[in-house]
């Protein structure tokens, strides 16, 4: 086992897990909505990026468009389905009553609804854009080390993953929006009574989660095959990471990205890709079983014990 290979594979795996999970984590952790269509949101980001880049735009510009498209889509989904506000607005004017209960904190219903959205998206994209679109090339080439070479772009992705985590940390702790959003999540009633527009916080949070999914899609568009069904390849990692992470969204995602990435890289190196995946999933099952609040729960328990001493 070559330590450099191990390191690069860890970085790769970490980036993939973190980027897969982070949009889901924000929406789940902040709003109590499980977005089973998360993979398809990622797919939208990838399609946006690929289509715009194919039209001749520079890759970075195309990626930005991909993120924006997904964010706008997230906004529409939040307004029409998750909060039901748009549909209720229409219904109140035609039927004289609202017809939709918001999906916030209706975990199971939100899963079913977003699964349906994912279903529609996959086939909708297939109908509109066909089974395949011309794919992008991975930029930035490779670097050599010893007899090995590594894609620079994949390395950049792991840096981006770290930046996304740091950036989110900054947004949610050092901006007014972030603080208000967290206050809304902790105690929506009190936040509202202090003048925070909690609806707006929910919408914005959902849009941020969607934009992050879009970013993931944009970033992986040049490295993975962009097809309508690509979303499912992110879904498992995303769920596993969020659940293993536990309630503290950013911290948890970082921890689980680290743990699962390391397990995956190690077992892949030792026993091959299949065992890498299986080991990762079994680790997840064990963590869920042993730590009911995930890795952040473990950290908190340890902290409580320390306070007691």
């Amino acid at each position: 086992m070559n330590p450099f290979n191990l390191f690069f594979q860890f970085a790769d795996s970490f980036a993939f897990i973190v980027l897969s999970a982070v949009g889901l984590a924000v929406i789940f952790g902040m709003m109590g909505v499980i977005n089973l269509g998360h993979g398809e949101f990622i797919m939208i980001g990838a399609y946006g990026t690929t289509l715009v880049a194919n039209a001749g735009a520079p890759l970075v510009a195309a990626m930005i468009v991909g993120v924006i498209v997904t964010a706008v889509f997230g906004f529409l989904v939040e307004r029409t389905i998750v909060s039901g506000a748009a549909i209720n607005w229409v219904a109140e004017r035609t039927l004289g009553r609202s017809v939709i209960e918001p999906l916030y904190d209706r975990l199971l219903d939100s899963m079913v609804a977003t699964w349906a959205i994912g279903l529609i998206l996959t086939q909708g994209v297939r109908i509109v854009f066909g089974n395949s679109i011309p794919q992008l090339n991975t930029p930035l080439g490779s670097i050599q080390y010893g007899g090995f070479s590594y894609s620079v772009y994949r390395l950049v992705l792991s840096l981006v993953a770290v930046c996304v985590l740091v950036g989110l940390y900054a947004v949610f702790t050092h901006t007014k929006f972030g603080v208000r959003a967290r206050a809304t999540i902790q105690d929506p009633e009190t936040a509202r009574s202090l003048g925070v527009n909690t609806d707006e916080m929910y919408t914005t949070t959902f849009v941020i989660g969607s934009a992050l999914a879009g970013l993931t899609g944009a970033l992986y568009a040049p490295s993975l095959t962009v097809v309508p069904s690509m979303g499912t390849s992110f879904l498992v990692e995303a769920f596993v990471a969020v659940v293993v992470g536990g309630p503290s969204v950013l911290f948890g995602t970082t921890l689980s990205g680290g743990l699962l990435g390391a397990i995956n890289a190690l077992f892949t190196n030792l026993y091959g890709t299949f065992f890498g995946q299986i080991a990762m999933l079994l680790t997840a099952i064990l963590v869920i079983r042993l730590l009911s609040n995930g890795l952040t729960g473990l950290v908190e328990t340890v902290r409580d014990r320390k306070v007691g001493e």
Binding site: K176, R180, Q186, T190, A191, S193, L194, G195, V196
Partner: protein, 232 residues
Amino acid sequence: MLTCESLTVAYDTTPILRNVDLTVEDGEIVGIMGKNGAGKTTLMKALIGLLDLREGTITYEGTDVTGVASNERARLGIGYIPQGRDVFPDLTVEQNLLIGESINADDDDPSYDLVYEYFPILKERASQTAGTLSGGQQQMLAIGRALVGNPDLLLLDEPSEGIQPSIVDRISEDMRTINRELGTTILFVEQNLGVIRGMANRCYAMKRGEIVDELTGSMLDNENQIANYLAV
């Protein structure tokens, strides 16, 4: 400044407030006293808009705010200090204060200095998470959080609850100073005799969801009459 007419609030079928009428004049400190379960907190929540009215109207500074969302009421200048430890436990003291900035949209100059002047401990603990403060400190934070946005009216829900007597006295004093120096109107609910006598210019008595009496001026000196409406 604030007028309520025949407020009725019910959970499912059980009415919690029945036909409550009250008025608060500009610059006053008005108390509402009553035992646990009298409906005091429900009244406060109805005033800020966290509970829907079954009947009645609420007028704030001449505007009917009955159907207005609570965040909009806050932005009109009502500062709400919820009961107990309703600070945001995972946010720092400073971040808690930041939430209060949304209050009173007309005023976009948050008064951090003023808050820190009244409650220096909050400055000391600015970067500590609110959940780790003591009960009294949390209460100060809740008051400071409402003050940051320079509200015209403060709604204060049981400031004495679960707090050391000495700190309760201090809080009463601070509230009076705020009222005097800043001209902030205050409406509070309380069951602590000392706090009521120490703060209120005027006081309503509540019992099982109804206003049963109004005590003004010298009536407030009569300890026994007040105690009558309270627990003992």
